[in-house]
């Protein structure tokens, strides 16, 4: 009798025990090696991260959905992937900590009196509606699971701050102020960097769009004319696509001020560059990251996709994200994975009680006594000038934007 048969002499039914492979498409914002390694260990699945810059990931997301299982990007990208019908609805009942997810993605604000912010508020694209489109009317089916979020601004080298700005309140206008003499860099995504530029031009020039989160053709033309004029004056040093570019530029001093995301900020701190993230008086440009499941995913891979998403809200990943400067959709569960000093600095806006580590455990990323820009979680996420946006005229904006960048 062979070993594969039972005592009764019959072959047991075949059980597929091969490890499930889950392919995640996203950006360096969340797809960290330490996250992948821990998820592999905790979930017993094989996990493959495909890390692209945001614009490239958007393109793959819409045009090659069969190449990934989970799309880890931002809520404003729902405007691309949902009409293209490349994702499947997420069953909220299968999201273990869904009831713990706070009011921000579910209602559009953390507290009832806070400003909703212009642009693509996540709540307006969170729920699948009866006709299959997305909207804010609650349902049990989600387009994207809300995970990480933050309020962004720009960073600048404190040692290179022009004297004309030294005593002034931080403003988006700084991002196009000629006194930085050609050392300005803006991020290169039409849904993100273009908004940084719009906030800057609005704060500094005679350009007042009716809705900065949904510009008209004439407003886009006005914005581009002003940006081209600034380019001709050699105001900008570059438009960056990836963290590495802005990190190198700012570390070397070629870039003195620019759109700056947390991973680059952390790296610059590690390198010892004197960088400050601004808390602009006009408010922040906010973003909400999340995960969607590709339409083709079924069976064990689909189970693994839900396991992976549930794992993200289970506490530990949220603590890693906190050390990178990002908030998680259900902060209380990450609280127990952070020290009091870390919770105090990242979420409560308190001075660091001691030196704090970075997301990869690198020591002393935050020095004792430092205070986060803009205050605590509620204060920062309630001062939203605009959300990252895909406007009605996004196709026009993107083509004009790239033309301006290439001019």
């Amino acid at each position: 009798m062979s070993e594969s048969t039972t005592a009764g002499g019959r072959t047991p039914p075949y059980v597929n025990r091969a490890r499930v492979t889950l392919r995640v498409l996203g950006t360096s914002v969340t797809l960290l090696d330490c996250i992948r390694d821990q998820a592999r260990r905790d979930l017993g699945i094989d996990l493959r991260f495909e890390v692209l810059d945001g614009v490239a990931a958007q393109r793959v997301g819409v045009l090659s959905p069969e190449t990934f299982d989970i799309y880890d990007q931002w809520f404003h990208n729902v405007d691309f992937v949902w009409p293209a019908a490349v994702m499947q609805p997420i069953d909220a009942q299968r999201i273990r900590y869904w009831p713990e997810v706070n009011a921000l993605p579910k209602t559009g604000r953390l507290v009832p009196h806070a400003a909703l912010g212009a642009g693509c508020n996540p709540v307006d694209r969170l729920y699948v509606q009866p006709d299959g489109t997305f909207g804010s009317r609650p349902s049990e089916r989600l387009t994207m699971l809300p995970v990480c979020h933050n309020a962004d601004s720009f960073g600048y080298r404190t040692d290179m701050l022009p004297s004309t700005l030294a005593d002034r309140r931080e403003s988006w206008a700084w991002l196009v102020d000629p006194s930085w003499s050609g050392r300005i860099s803006i991020q290169n995504d039409g849904a993100i960097g273009a908004l940084d530029a719009a906030l800057a031009i609005r704060a500094s020039d005679d350009w007042h769009p009716q809705d900065i989160g949904n510009l008209t053709v004439a407003e886009i033309d006005g914005l581009m004319e002003r940006l081209v004029a600034l380019k001709k004056k050699r105001c900008f040093s570059a438009f960056w696509d990836g963290d590495a570019e802005v990190t190198h530029g700012m570390a070397a001093g070629d870039i003195a001020i620019g759109s700056l995301w947390s991973p680059a900020l952390a790296e610059l701190r590690r390198l010892g560059a004197p960088i400050r993230l601004a808390a602009p008086e006009e408010g922040y440009r906010a973003w909400y990251g999340g995960m969607s499941i590709a339409r083709h995913v079924t069976g064990r891979t689909l189970d693994a996709a839900y396991d992976y998403m549930n794992w993200w809200l289970s506490g530990w990943p949220g603590a890693i994200m906190a050390r990178q400067g990002y908030y998680i959709a259900n902060p209380a569960r990450s609280r127990e994975h952070l020290s009091d000093a870390e919770w105090g600095y990242w979420y409560q806006g308190r001075p660091a009680a001691r030196d704090l580590p970075g997301p990869r455990g690198e020591p002393g990323l935050i020095r004792r006594g430092e205070v986060r820009d803009g205050g605590d979680y509620h204060a920062r996420m309630s001062r939203i000038a605009v959300w990252n946006s895909v406007m009605d005229e996004h196709n026009y904006l993107v083509r004009r934007w790239h033309q301006m960048v290439g001019a």
Binding site: F80, A84, A85, T133, V217, V390, Y396, V398, R400, Q403
Partner: protein, 346 residues
């Protein structure tokens, strides 16, 4: 504009057909006629002439001549004492019959779809230009250069000018201050403007035309939509955009106000957005378009003309919202290769 002028130069059309993997013209004509002859669908003794057959197939006479020669070698048609060939292998026993040649006479209608593009060459070239121009506008603003256009197709400047006038009539291009023809850019505002025109004009036009639309022409449309909803027949971008054009033309087929009809015909940017969207991403059978249009047809067949007009309005509103969302998706598409007569201005 004469077709003759355009017929001088179907070279690039031939090349693009070859590149697209379509059979050569003469081959397609040879295959179709050969099949019809073998299956006895052509009356014996019918006189086959190059000119009329070329018109039926939408080609010049060259490919027809070549196809005839091959059919003759195969013994399917014969020479006789007159112009052209006889549809028989026994010319001595079958008298020649001269009749006005049509696709049906050539036994082609039974094949269903025409085997080659049956449009005249001028139409085919125009369709190619219209396709290129309407595609380009999603990616920015382009100047359509008359000289390059005439060189590209090997046609005269007059013919190129005629094509530009037609594009302009369709609302796809307009002249700038320096008399340059400009196409695009395609904006959400321009698409919304077109929808505004359509929703103001189409439902009342349908209401006015409805009693005169023959019912027997509506039933096949209703059936076809039902099949598409059930997923019984495959659907692609060409079918969908063709169907949309057909349906709207159908609604207006008995509408007497030509001025208003022209205005609606010029408002076609929504169709451009949807064509590019579906060309790139494909179409699914749950596309709401089918259900919305079936409602209109159902109401027309019941004689509920007001309800038909309301359903058309509801369709236009829903389509406007869908198209606005689809236009955003176009922003991640990479710019396709465009012909040299389109020069980017911004």
């Amino acid at each position: 504009m004469t077709h003759g002028a355009l017929l001088l130069s179907s070279k690039s059309v031939q090349e693009s057909a070859r590149a697209a993997g379509r059979p050569l013209r003469y081959q397609a004509i040879y295959d179709a006629l050969g099949r019809a002859l073998r299956e006895g669908r052509v009356s014996p003794g019918l006189v086959l002439l190059e000119g009329p057959v070329a018109r039926i197939f939408g080609t010049s006479r060259g490919p027809v001549r070549k196809a005839f020669e091959q059919l003759h070698r195969d013994g399917l048609i014969s020479r006789f004492d007159g112009r052209g060939f006889l549809a028989t292998d026994r010319p001595a026993h079958v008298p020649p019959r001269r009749e006005t040649l049509t696709a049906a006479r050539l036994g082609l209608a039974a094949d269903g779809a025409p085997v080659v593009d049956t449009r005249p060459t001028a139409e085919r070239i125009y369709a190619e230009v219209e396709h290129a121009v309407s595609t380009s506008i999603a990616f920015g603003q382009f100047r359509v250069v008359e000289l390059s256009l005439s060189q590209h197709f090997g046609v005269s400047r007059t013919v190129a000018r005629e094509m530009l006038a037609r594009l302009s009539h369709q609302g796809l291009i307009e002249k700038d201050g320096q008399s340059h023809w400009l196409a695009g850019p395609l904006t959400a505002k321009a698409v919304a403007d077109d929808y505004e025109i359509l929703r103001l004009m189409e439902p009342p036009a349908l209401r006015a035309a409805a009693p005169a639309i023959p019912r027997e022409t509506l039933r096949p449309v209703q059936q076809r939509l039902a099949q598409l909803i059930a997923g019984d027949v495959p659907v692609d971008a060409t079918i969908l955009t063709g169907l949309e054009r057909e349906l709207h033309a159908h609604y207006l087929s008995c509408y007497a106000n030509r001025k208003a009809a022209n205005m609606m015909a010029r408002s076609q940017l929504p169709r451009v957005v949807n064509r590019i969207f579906f060309d790139t991403l494909g179409v699914t059978c749950d596309e709401p378009f089918f259900v919305e249009h079936k409602l209109v047809i159902d109401h027309l067949l019941y004689g509920a003309y007001d309800a038909a007009a309301s359903s058309l309005l509801a369709h236009l509103d829903a389509a406007a919202a869908r198209t606005r969302r689809r236009l955003k998706v176009l922003s991640v598409f990479t710019e396709p290769a465009l012909p040299s007569y389109l020069v980017r201005t911004c």
